[in-house]
Amino acid sequence: MAVEAWLDPSARPADLPGPADLAVGVGEPWQQPAVVPSEAQTPLPAVDHAVPLLGRFATLVGPGQQHDRLAVLCALARQPGASWRLRDAEEAVPWLEPDSTARVVGELAESGLLLPAAGDEAAWRLSDEAHVVAAVCSALSAPQLEPDRFVRVLAASVTLAKAAGAPDEAAFGPFLAAAGVLERDLSTIEQRIADGREEALLEAAATARTHAADMAALLQQHAELFRADAGGLADAWERAVAALGRLETLTGDVVATLAGHADDRVRRGPRSDRSSLRGLVATADLATLAALAGEARLPPAVVPTHPSAALAALDEHLGRPDPLAVPIPEPILLPVEAPEDVPDLTTLAARALEWLARRGESVLTEWVVGGTWAEATGRMAAVVEAWSRHGPGGDGSLQAELDASPTLDPVGHDEVAVVSRTLVRRPAAGGPVP
């Protein structure tokens, strides 16, 4: 089942329980698992065959066992010669009291790990199984399994299974586990590329390259075992080879690129164009960009004001004439006139300007202001139109010059409060202003 699951990991329905769902509390009572088919159709009989050898480990490690037995067995496995006596054992474990050594040796002999030596009743030797148990225990005596050694250890366990004469299936598990490690490495590298964590990416690539090398050796060493279509491993083999090739190529690219040994596509240095900068801004996090700006050499934030200036501005503001409330005019009936009777206000305005100009220098309001606000604005619009048509920007026939200034002149009558000052005078040379 493990092979099928690995070949198609997506086959697991999402609604099946996960690790968190199946967590078993330490204090919960053990329940005998229920087997669906008859036990003869399960791997359990094969496991039963392995129990005698595996049971040797149970006498050394596991609940209720004392670590001194394991230490003594491993020390005795290193004894030179085919057999040894109790005095040799005591010298091999000088850290143990002689009485305790004798007791532990007796326990090991009772469990079948030590046998009487042939031809010497006062001597012992390790059974063959005890040698294997001691060797495996010693081999696994590292404080922890370093990540980059994982595939190598799995590969060694394949070799061990074959050497021990275990069924081929015993080698499949470590092989599939090693292939799974490669796929996990690929996923990790892709994730770290996406995260932009270069140091972590290099570390992952280094570990993955070690895994890839160990996997390559495993595939080479056991090609015949795995390529044979036993247990559905042919597809798994192909997939492992594909993952290995992909991992080797990608890690090679990662190391070459980050170490500056990549080909010309990335070695020639930063390519500064708009598109690259867009990509950089779009993918970099705000903190990274902000760090580029740093303190940004801020401008000193001095406010350009002084109390006296503020008071002067307030005084000027308060000095302005108050707006006058103008009553709404009474409604009147407007006379209806024939179109030909309506004078051309623009022509009238031009004549008015020339009339004002002939008086020397006059203010425009003398003609504009009068009557209602609507009439005043109408006359002002006519002045603008007359200036446009007949002034220097028009046909130049206007015998008057206008001088506008931003100064406001208070009026206070005829519905006009203030008006901007515009002087009307004769043109400088007696003719229109050029």
Binding site: T249, S272, R278, A287, L292, A293, P299, P300
Partner: protein, 198 residues
């Protein structure tokens, strides 16, 4: 204007160089520079905008309860950096490439479309938020806006130093390395296996 008046003017805002002929003299310029330095500021000249600028001479220490009139947030600094990359760094790099006989990519680099900037910050800064940030940077003198395009203001022109340029190159190189590796990973994923070991 006296050195004190010049300092006051500059501390309030940047000034066209033509309006401060006093600063064309070495002696006066050094005196203004010295006085500004005494209060933690420095005098800078923006070549592009032909303006004199006073700016802080170093980082601000963190003080509990300090309320600076102007302190840029992380988002503002990020937008500022992006604008600087487009408006100052890119033209300078193109000029450098051209001087080295390389063929720089096209584009004027003189202006940055605010919509383009918003697109680059999509998902991290909203359009309205970005508009506010740009407006603050514009009011601070880092940016100007003409004909709808963002352009370097007087402060942006005096913003960088060699280490900033080098930092930007490093960042850009790193981005391009990772983008290349991302493409490679995608290619390998699509192709299945390339160099399978047998």
């Amino acid at each position: 204007m006296s050195p004190a008046e010049l300092c006051r003017v500059l501390l309030v805002g940047s000034v066209p160089a033509a309006e401060l002929p006093e600063l064309s003299g070495d002696e006066m310029r050094d005196e203004v520079r010295r006085r500004l330095a005494e209060v933690g500021c420095e005098l800078a000249y923006s070549v592009d905008s032909d303006r004199w600028v006073a700016r802080l001479g170093g980082p601000l220490p963190d003080i509990e309860g300090h309320e600076p009139v102007l302190r840029l947030s992380q988002a503002e600094l990020a937008v500022l950096a992006a604008c600087w990359l487009h408006l100052r760094f890119l033209p300078a790099e193109r000029a450098r490439a051209a001087a080295d006989g390389l063929d720089p990519d096209g584009g004027d680099g003189a202006g940055l479309d605010p919509d383009d900037l918003a697109e680059q910050f999509r998902g991290r800064l909203g359009q309205d938020q970005l508009h506010d940030l740009v407006e603050r940077l514009r009011r601070s003198g880092f940016l100007t806006q003409r004909e709808g395009l963002l352009r370097a203001g007087p402060l942006l022109s005096t913003f960088e130093d060699p280490s900033t340029v080098e930092q930007a190159r490093t960042l850009l190189t790193r981005h391009q390395r990772l983008a290349y590796l991302q493409r490679r990973a995608a290619e390998l994923g699509a192709d299945g296996s390339l160099d399978a070991t047998d």
